[in-house]
Symmetry: C2
């Protein structure tokens, strides 16, 4: 069932919510229509479950990237680098469910809207935490405004997904190199 949900994640990432028919879903999940409706109340419930699964997976990947660094600044650098890599190439063209939900559903679907809003704040807090960590260990100057910088970095990560989906090439080292100036 989890593998079927993974396949649903993939379809929703590629096609978005409205362009995904339940025919597309059953084909991707290798399940019959009846089976999908046995497991979920409706299409919306499938999407919500897919969203949660995607977010959990991405969060784990981001923590793993952070763990590669040895201090706050390096951890943040690896997080940004990870975001660029995931926004690029075929993975980038597949799209991000958070960005997709924010753009396509957030305004008209209060449930998704609240969930997206909360997730962005979670991500922002994680970055702000890394900045404060860097300030504590001396790798990031104390005068850096952690909250403002974190919010701008969230904009960068979300924007990367948009630009990556639009097939502009993204060079991780170069872009992150520039972005790290925000910590000066």
């Amino acid at each position: 069932m989890d593998t079927a949900l993974d396949r649903a994640v993939r379809v929703f990432r590629e096609r978005g919510y409205h362009a995904t028919s339940i025919g597309d879903l059953t084909a991707a999940m290798r399940l019959a229509t009846g089976s999908v409706y046995k497991a979920f109340r409706d299409k919306h419930a499938v999407f919500l479950a897919a969203f949660e699964r995607y977010v959990a997976l991405r969060q784990e990947q981001t923590r793993n990237a952070a763990a590669k660094g040895t201090n706050g600044r390096e951890r943040l650098r690896h997080v940004l680098l990870s975001h660029v890599e995931h926004s690029q190439g075929s993975e980038g063209r597949r799209g991000c469910l958070v960005v997709g939900s924010a753009v396509e559903l957030s305004a008209l679907d209060p449930m998704v809207g609240a969930r997206v809003n909360a997730q962005l704040k979670t991500n922002e807090n994680f970055i702000a935490g890394l900045i404060r960590e860097g300030q504590a260990d001396g790798s990031i100057p104390a005068h850096v405004e952690a909250d403002d910088t974190a919010r701008l970095m969230i904009c960068i990560t979300q924007g990367l997904r948009v630009v990556g989906k639009a097939r502009l090439p993204l060079d991780g080292e170069r872009l992150v190199g520039v972005a790290m100036k925000l910590l000066a």
Copy 2:
């Protein structure tokens, strides 16, 4: 007719392409179904026309913002400020057609995909131009990598629209203040 197209822009910005029925369109445009199909070949053609109109309008607004500055750095600062303002509040919740098209259609609709890609490059070139202008007039250091910085700034502007649509508050002065570090 142009006023009807403006209303179409508004609906597409709020609801996206797939969630906008032609019933929504006729209601917003104050036109009957037949009249819409007299003026445009199909829904897709309405969207393309709305897209072009939106892009033209936004481009004009951005040039006006740039004109407020007296040198390259100040022009760029006003452009970024303008992007934050448009990403915020009710205007921000209405959404951006470029971002919406990139996320919802770019991957499956080659026509829209090419158009979005080209538009992002145009915007990027405009920003890169402002950076070089600043380097020529001495307001921006010569060691700044114009192309990489412009690409990152495009990520910021697109990300702002995502974050704004998700109802996170955006403080123009603070965010732009941080972003200007990229020109150090």
